[in-house]
Amino acid sequence: MSFNAADLQGVLPAIILSVGALFLLTSEVFLRNVRPAVLGHAGGIPTSPAERVEAKLPPGAQGASPSAVTPPDRRYQAWVAAAFAALGLWASLAQLGDPAIAIFNGTAASDGFARVVAAVVCGSLLLSCLVAFGYLEALRATRGEFYALALFSASGMCLLGQATDLIVIFIALEVMSLAVYCLSAYLRRGNRPAEAAFKYFVLGSFASAIFLYGAALAYGATASTRLVDIAAALRGGGSGLLWAAAALLVVGFAFKVAAVPFHMWVPDVYDGAPAPVTGFMAAAVKVAAFATLVRILLGGFGDPVAALGAHGWQRLVVWLAGLTMVVGNLLAIPQRSVKRMLAYSSIAHAGYLLVAVAAMAGPLPRQDAIGGLLFYLASYGATVIGAFGVVAIIERKLALSGAGDDLSSWAGLSERHPALAAAMSLFMVSLAGIPPTAGFMAKLTVFRAAVSAELVPLAVLGVLTSVGGLYYYLRVVVYVYMMPTTKPDAVMGERLVAAGLALIGCAVLVVWMGVQPGAFASVAQNAVAVFSR
């Protein structure tokens, strides 16, 4: 009764991503520093004038002094990481139609839901690697560990999507979180990144501890950590212990998805972490955390009494969703830093996603709510990675010139770089939820699910707060197109091959999901069947 090939095939995306990470770590061993005296100008020394300007480094950067030894060429790493992410994406999509099976003695499941989650995670990773390429190269900070940690965290996210046992969920959660803590601490120039990483680590560990307490209480009540056993125990009548466990598990994940009042860490962490990492965090971590929340709530506590009863979790999630939507949107309005604004907007979007989770409590429209949640997660991922991709391009110029992040640095972007300006506007429009973009369709499906679950007040609140969100999203568009350029910068002429690819990918996805949501909805249908009763 050990494990067999079917078990391993079930966790194939996670295995592919881990192998990719180990490959990148091992490849670092074989890199040699290049001595120009011997080998000439090989290995990443800027030759064209544009690159030479780009190489003007901020104070304190490694390799700023023209030493005799130049670091090895590490440009292959982003492409290798992206290739492994694409392989993981392919593996999860190839298995999409296969029947759902329980693997590893029922501690995990290989089903449509897990595969869709893995596909979204791998897609986010692929786009984030491309965004990170130019950013890290410009700051001379490319290291194998960066992409290895990103791959490791994505493999933890894939496992989170398919875990059906509280122990596996906890360990996979730690795999994901630990790697992301390190990624947010990766670029430690100045105090802010260090502060952000430390805050994230301490509060994240706190959230993990709360989750663990909930898991322990669930075990105490049911003598099992399997979600199916918890569901069976609930059918026999819940106890106070199980209600406390459900509440603590929800609170643990409310920290991870940044729901109000557990959102305090978000602005500082999103602001302090490197922009490509922030995009990955906003997209992929949210996907994994929401997927696990759904697994726990529907797989373990999906019983109508546990969901809708007097002590049911629906009420808890409804309050969280309402608070998160209102507070997230209100706090985003006064922000002048685009990164901070996107951080608060990420809190607001967690609120809309929680609306979908609350709508899942009822038995009838559960399909719509799950499909809507997955569609929302995928569309938000594509949009936010694109938005942070543009921020990454602007931010590295700011880092090179030593200026802070402020809306004024976006003024007149359309004159300097029309393509970037158009992309940023598209992403802002999608985040605001204006048709014909992905953001509009996503909000529409989620609010429709809420209405059919008889959560009309929550849907109304969602629409009202979205209208409030228009202000701060469109302000960026106003700055980009209508404000005169204040400070022309010389470094705009560089090539943005990888980031350009990523931004085009994101933009195509955003428009495609907005115009033809049916194609994606049919993919999500594979996932929905898992939780139907």
Binding site: N105, R143, A148, R188, G240
Partner: protein
């Protein structure tokens, strides 16, 4: 009856010493309290018929891990003035009180009848081989093989992450 007496002795001492770990200013005092907490916790494991875990708890945690902690404290070598002052703010009082009330409520409502004469201990007693080396091994390598393997992934990340965070600024 004797089990109940032992349970309360171990439980009260574990909680008191664990609280000392957080409340003490001096890191050495905190570390010594942690040793005590680990030790009495292993007593509770014994009452739950988990002998192997109890022994591992003493050997690994109270022994090896604590030596590491003490080494780190020694290397940091904090001065008296670096430890800061105790400040009792209103938030600390509110926070501490709410933690005590919440935990106490959960313990009273839910755990009151699970320990020391409840479900978990009975389950442990009725399973042959529970708590033995063989029983733990089977639970670890057969029933929980996936979490076991993923833990190795976690440790790899911890090592890589520690290097990334600790080495010079990138």
């Amino acid at each position: 009856m004797t089990e109940s007496v032992f349970f309360w002795i171990f439980a009260v001492l574990t909680v008191l010493l664990a609280a000392q770990v957080v409340l003490r200013r001096n890191p050495v005092h905190a570390a010594v309290s942690l040793v005590g907490a680990f030790f009495f916790l292993s007593g509770i494991y014994l009452l739950l018929a988990a002998q192997l875990i109890a022994i591992l708890q003493v050997m690994v945690y109270a022994g090896a891990v604590m030596v590491l902690f003490v080494f780190v404290i020694m290397l940091l070598n904090l001065k008296e003035e670096e430890m800061g002052h105790e400040r009792l703010t209103a938030w600390k009082i509110i926070g501490g009180a709410s933690i005590v009330v919440t935990t106490g409520l959960i313990a009273y409502l839910a755990l009151g009848n699970a320990y020391p004469t409840g479900l978990l201990r009975d389950m442990a007693r009725t399973q042959p081989g529970f708590g033995s080396v063989k029983g733990v091994g089977q639970a670890l390598y057969i029933a929980s093989v996936l979490p076991f393997e993923v833990t190795s992934l976690l440790l790899t990340i911890a090592v890589v992450g520690a290097v990334v965070v600790a080495k010079g600024k990138i």
